[in-house]
């Protein structure tokens, strides 16, 4: 009976809220999938970040809307020591955590929250290190944070010092990434005292522009604008994620007015969506690159001239037309043009099968048989790897190279493509994490990545020295120069055939105002308004 009474009360409350918000501005976003949880740091998927870190949390520093430029967030300012080993962050005062039905904060955000948010990821003996079975901190580990951070020190309530083991220029950009979201230490302590630690992942509390209201698994997530948000109250009152996994259905929902914004349209639907008078189609070049990585440790691909010749045999325009259906641009560098330090002076290899054939003959390569690996999954940087592999197969046939297309299950594909003695060239790609060129050049092409994320198994001393140096200096102009030089070396040595950078489309209702596309691929609704 008591339970029923509670239920009635809850129903009455919710009904009142609905009635009271009859004229509330509610933006509906038809998201492409369900979040794995609402505590950001244990996860790596963009879908989870869209539903957790973007609306609910802040970080010490943030990416300026629509750019990969780092601006102050929960830290108002920061200083870097001369030797690049100490980063001191001055925290913002008066920042409120969300007040929700399950938590009422008694204090503002302070250094304890920063320490809690990072210590739980880096100290195996921290009580929150494995607060639910099987939890792990993959992004924190993936970004080599355990090796990089020597210590985090609370100087006072509003000052925090990060001590590093080595100079690392991208450090600040790393702290703007999702895994560095700041959670409430006070809320965590309350959950711990109640023996309900797992709720941190289910009923989240942050400082972000929206607070969590409810999640109906695989169906709907509801948020309300955070009234005390340090950045000011949002123009919309409520934000709803209607989880709609099928792209064709998302398109229908947009047309029917059941959602205002829907990501990742099918290429085939783009034209009809753009033609709808009630919709607008935003587009932006993605911060990504799709490539074909040769194994530079296996003959004849250890010869740069052979690689160069093969690159000249690839008809990129045909790939753009057929695989990307126009939603992409040819790549000449390993980083996308929207990224700082992109070297536009570099000339792409011309598409010239005759010259390519002659170059191969000059290098003594004839009757070459090779494998081209096609990914089994669709990715923004490669919407149809099988088709791309077939086109490359046809291109290489023209220069006398016989290609066999192979594929594996995705996990196997990723694992086997790392092998040093791998046969053949691998189709793969990368989407930037933090807008720093280091995140592409060092991760994908550095000597440290050989046998790992460097699928070309390419270790070039000149290139490596440039990227290592660029990581250790903090002056952007100097870093830019070093990365531009590194791109020249890359082009000369051709460990990859750079294929394309994709275009990302975002259809939305004409009622949506102020939406800005994120070059890093996230979906943000702070600052977005809705015409009633």
């Amino acid at each position: 009976m008591r339970k029923f009474g509670k239920l009635l009360a809850a129903t009455a409350l919710m009904s009142a809220a609905i009635a009271g918000s009859a004229y509330a501005k509610t933006l509906v976003y038809c998201s492409e999938g369900s979040p794995e949880g609402f505590d950001v740091a244990p996860y790596t998927a963009g879908t989870t970040f869209d539903a957790s870190s973007k609306p609910l949390y802040n970080r010490l520093v943030e990416f300026k809307r629509g750019t990969s430029q780092v601006i102050p967030g929960l830290a108002e300012s920061w200083e870097v020591s001369e030797d690049g080993l100490e980063y001191t962050f001055n925290l913002r005062k008066g920042v409120k955590f969300h007040t929700t039905s399950f938590f009422t904060p008694t204090r503002d955000f302070n250094a304890d929250d920063v320490l809690f948010s990072f210590d739980r990821q880096r100290n195996a003996d921290h009580p929150w290190y494995e607060y639910v079975p099987g939890i792990s901190w993959e992004y924190f580990n993936g970004m080599s944070m355990p090796d990089l951070i020597a210590d985090i020190e609370k100087v006072d309530d509003y000052t925090v010092k990060f001590k590093l083991t080595r100079p690392e220029a991208p450090m600040v950009a790393n702290l703007a990434m999702d895994f560095a979201s700041i959670v409430s230490a006070e809320y965590a302590a309350q959950l711990e005292a109640d023996g309900r630690q797992e709720m941190l992942n289910q009923e989240p509390v942050g400082t972000g522009p929206f607070s969590f209201v409810a999640y109906q698994k695989d169906a709907v997530i509801r948020y309300a604008a955070h009234g005390d948000y340090w950045g000011g109250k949002q123009p919309i009152d409520d934000l709803v994620f209607a989880i709609t996994t099928d792209a064709a259905v998302r398109a229908q929902k947009l047309k029917a007015g059941e959602c205002h914004v829907a990501p990742y349209p099918n290429p085939a639907d783009i034209e009809s969506l753009a033609a709808d008078p009630n919709l607008v189609m935003m587009e932006q070049q993605g911060l990504n690159v799709g490539y074909l990585a040769y194994n530079t440790q296996v003959a004849p691909f250890d010869n740069a001239k052979v690689r160069k010749a093969l690159n000249m045999a690839i008809n990129k325009q045909a790939i753009l037309d057929s695989v990307f259906q126009g939603a992409g641009s040819a790549a000449k560098n390993p980083i996308p043009p929207t990224m700082w330090s992109y070297n536009d002076a570099i000339q792409d290899d011309p598409y010239d099968p005759a010259a390519a054939k002659a170059m191969l003959e000059a290098e003594g390569v004839s009757g070459l048989e090779m494998e081209v690996w096609a990914m089994p999954v669709q990715r923004p940087y490669n919407p149809n790897a099988r088709r791309m592999a077939e086109l490359i197969q046809a291109d290489f046939a023209q220069v006398g190279v016989d290609v066999k297309i192979v594929s594996y299950e995705w996990g196997e594909y990723l694992a086997r493509s790392k092998e040093l003695d791998r046969k053949g060239a691998v189709l793969l790609g990368w989407t930037g994490d933090n807008g720093d060129p280091d995140n592409f050049l060092a991760v994908l092409l550095g000597c440290d990545g050989v046998g790992g994320s460097n699928r070309a198994q390419w270790c070039n001393e000149e290139f490596d020295a440039l990227t290592i140096k660029a990581k250790q200096v903090s002056d952007i102009a100097e870093r830019t120069k070093l990365y531009e030089e590194a791109q020249v070396v890359f082009k000369r040595e051709a460990p990859w055939a750079t294929i394309a950078h994709s275009t990302v489309f975002m259809p939305m209702s004409t009622k949506v105002k102020g939406y800005v596309m994120d070059p890093l691929g996230g979906h943000w609704f702070d600052g977005v308004d809705l015409d009633q």
Binding site: E36, G37, E138, N141, T245, A248, Q252
Partner: protein, 325 residues
Amino acid sequence: MIVPTFFGITIVAFGFVRVLPGDPILALAGERGVKPERYQELLVQFGFDKPIWEQYFTYLVNLFQGDFGTSIATKRPVLDEFLTLFPATVELALCAIVFAVLLGIPAGIISAVKRGSWFDQTTMGIALAGYSMPIFWWGLLLIIFFSGTLGWTPVSGRISLLYYFPQVTGFMLIDSFLSGQSGAFKSAFMHLILPTIVLGTIPLAVIARQTRSAMLEVLGEDYVRTARAKGLGQVQVIGVHALRNALIPVITTIGLQVGVLLAGAILTETIFSWPGIGKWMVDSIFRRDYPSVQGGLVLIALIVMVVNLTVDVLYGLINPRIRHQ
């Protein structure tokens, strides 16, 4: 039979995910990859470093204690996830089977009685088409026509986002009714129409065809001729004497449709963004989320077993000969 079947299911469920290529740690890490030493740590953390028989034994022991494990992806107990989503699938499956029975049995009876007529030929033609219909294509077609062009039904979901009330039973029709919010029940009902038709199409076709053939067989029996000779009316002959006997194989068919419904739910739930276990299982398989896939398979198998048992009992109720044996 239930006990050995159950053990068989646990072995199949446990083995099935492990013979799939790929592993959950690599799926979790994606393009970013995971360092070999970290990979080893995670193997230990998830218990995948132990011999396979030991993993199975631990799994079985936990299972008997009601512990279906924790999802690798969401870090939540598998049983909790299953129970949260299960009512949505049951609601949809029940509506689909009711839809299939209410239309399929009368259609089958009329087709049998009017054998060879235009009605019979049309109905059986449609049934054949329905049986061969790819669910995904059929669902999208209905959405584009009824939701897109005509605007009669909502595109997807369980209820309009305007309505927000606590879940009591997990069945949206009941919860929306209990909420007392005006229009909520109608919204839930409207959202059920298209997914019900899509999921119910194949069972409808099967039931209609099965009813027709069972009816045709029964109509040729001596006791039906006797009933007619006694001067009973058409309604009594068909409704009382023929139908009761014809229904026996139809009930078995309906029971067997449970498996079809659960398989169909995977596609239907994906098209209509229906938050049920079908979609959850697919997501779990793609993530190589071993505990979720294992738990889901075992729970679904248990449900199918229980339904089949219920059908057997029903069978006895309808067919006294079985009861007397």
